[in-house]
Symmetry: C2
Subunit: 175 residues, 2 copies
């Protein structure tokens, strides 16, 4: 994941490791954090893998600027075009970089993801029906108030994502 965060951020142009971390914090920092302990090894790995080039500046602070190679750019765009999956909020990171992606693929992936989201909502709704039913028969149902509340959170969360996705798809369509 960190690899693609780096590659994605470098689509904007040359940056240092420190710059990347700062940019992440100021943009998707709410949902993704990167630590130096993963960032610097990742940059090293990416240079060795031919995804990036490293350029030492004669800055007194030993600053190193990283730049995407064509391979790196290709690898990133390949990843970006793959279907959106709920796994570890990767979809949110991909969508953040979606301005780089081919509009047709983009639209397709967003709509597929929305479809999947609707399935999840239906499923979690059904589970909640069942749980509510089971709970109604219990004497000590108050003992599960917060456990059930967290289930409601899950539903609200998906519904929020659904509304958001629908909005960004629709708005983009009319532009």
């Amino acid at each position: 994941m960190i690899d693609y965060i780096c590659l994605g951020m470098l689509m904007q142009g040359k940056m240092s490791g420190y710059d990347i971390k700062k940019t992440v914090e100021q943009s998707v920092g709410l949902f993704f954090t990167i630590s130096y302990g993963s960032l610097y090894p990742a940059l090293k790995r990416l240079v060795e893998g031919g995804m990036l080039t490293e350029e030492e500046t004669n800055n007194s602070k030993n600053k190193k600027l990283y730049q995407l190679t064509e391979t790196g750019r290709g690898s990133f765009l390949q990843w970006l075009g793959e279907p959106l999956q709920s796994n570890r909020r990767e979809y949110l990171l991909k969508i953040f970089f979606y301005d780089c992606l081919d509009p047709a693929i983009r639209k397709n992936n967003l709509e597929n993801f929305l479809f999947e989201l609707n399935r999840n909502i239906a499923q979690i709704g059904a589970v909640q029906q069942i749980v509510s039913g089971q709970l109604a028969q219990l004497e000590n149902k108050d003992d599960y108030y917060y456990r059930v509340s967290v289930m409601h959170y899950g539903l609200r969360f998906y519904q929020m994502e659904k509304a958001w996705l629908e909005q960004i798809i629709e708005k983009r369509d009319y532009e």
Copy 2:
């Protein structure tokens, strides 16, 4: 974190590592996952630290049942009563176990968290105002459509949490 997931799940009674993993998946699985690679070392650590006792069953499957000690119970309740923080969704895990917590502390912590959430919403709203203003002056603002969308996601996310929190606080009040 995994330590408190284990302790919390064991508040319900004796369980095996496998049971704990299954219970997590079926309850807070949407937001937390645990792997065997962290679960079994954690259980070992907790037994060594006097938080749990291990009981071998003569089950053919080598099943081991873990049970909270008084120390473990105390340590869990101590953690549970500490203020709710956004960090790594720990607040969600705590609230999941909130049925175990003293109602007064519970109410106080939830209200403080809601207060903090309101501050975050105000702040992110202000940031969005600024960014929207800067963006309006750009010629190529379409190039930032999805980046901005992810900011909107952040706001929606906080608003969803706010609505949820208000609901669970209020409903519990009237019961």
